[in-house]
Symmetry: C2
Subunit: 217 residues, 2 copies
Amino acid sequence: MAGKVKTRDRILKTALALFNQEGEHQVSTVDIAAVMGISPGNLYYHFKGKEVIIEALYDDFEEEMRQVLSAPIKRALDIEDNWVFVYILFEEINDFRFFYYGLASVLERCPNLRPRFARLLKLKQETVDAVLTSLAKAGLVAFGPGEQAALATRLAAHLTFWLQYRDLTAPAQTGKNSGRAIINDGVYSTMIQIAPYIISHREPYAALLAEYFKKQG
Amino acid sequence: MAGKVKTRDRILKTALALFNQEGEHQVSTVDIAAVMGISPGNLYYHFKGKEVIIEALYDDFEEEMRQVLSAPIKRALDIEDNWVFVYILFEEINDFRFFYYGLASVLERCPNLRPRFARLLKLKQETVDAVLTSLAKAGLVAFGPGEQAALATRLAAHLTFWLQYRDLTAPAQTGKNSGRAIINDGVYSTMIQIAPYIISHREPYAALLAEYFKKQG
DNA sequence: GTCTATAAATGGATAGAC
DNA sequence: GTCTATCCATTTATAGAC
């Protein structure tokens, strides 16, 4: 009764897991049904097709992402808070990584997701920009003309393409907690891009970076 | 006789054009044959399948790319030379843009292209690093510890993902010379990332950037 | 080298019984 | 809500005639 999970939700959960594992366009609706042990017809009763499933998953993703991105708006973050913030951001992206690995495929299949994804990218960029502004106001960082906007743009792009980049440069780790390693690398490669602009407490920041780097080694 | 283009080459040329226009996985072998006005059977006589076509195209791309990337090794470049260098790099990428737009799809279909693409990315990064070294030696730029390597890495990634990023942020321009605009934006967004590290001739560089920006407006 | 015809395989989708 | 059975469309791939 109360513990019984609805088939609709099980479909979404299974689809997400399979998409993340194999890539969206390698997984058919029949595959999803087969893994769940239900019939394709049953699956089609709940979702008219694969597009609808993907869009439903995107709804979930966008909602969670917007929530995460609202954190720095609510209150200013110090450097360590930002560390955690970026970590959570990457965790969220990693949870729905099939969007990021197969971006082109997904947007081809679901063209109406394109403007939504673009808007989310813009929101990332604006959020990062706001964070940088608050860091600058706190006197921790300083930017030359245009540098802050450029950095915000770059970091938003970095968030978006990091998984693809990492997949290309590092061997595809199939290990247990390889997800952790990928996230850690992502956080590190993000934070190090801020380093050149730091004007006070440079040493603690460098130490933090070094320690973080050691932990993931 | 001498003017007669071999069918094999026409297939490659047509496939490349279609892939770039519509995206690789939207174009079937039948489509290619139809556009050329030959039969699918004939196409299969020349290429065993789509993979083989894609790999042949990648052979061409890699060869040209390696040639372009060898330029800065042969002789040191000044700032203006580098401008041209980056422009040619983006032109080359744009000529085979279907690899970059649908990277995940392509690598799923042709897994043996993955290590080759990864090696090419590494070569880009090493080349950029060499260019930065020569600029630093000429006293035009200066880097803190680790900054040069980080910048080289970022620029190589930028070259690789620029098309995807631009496609997401800017409306898909179907105009005549939209390719030019995309390339110009790519060059600009690359060169501006070097700006923070310039220590001499800052003004001429800024002027160059501004002028370039005006041209593409 | 090139064609026609057709096979084989897949993935998306629906109808109707239970 | 769920299943079985089936159909349709697309794409890849091959056989054999010209």
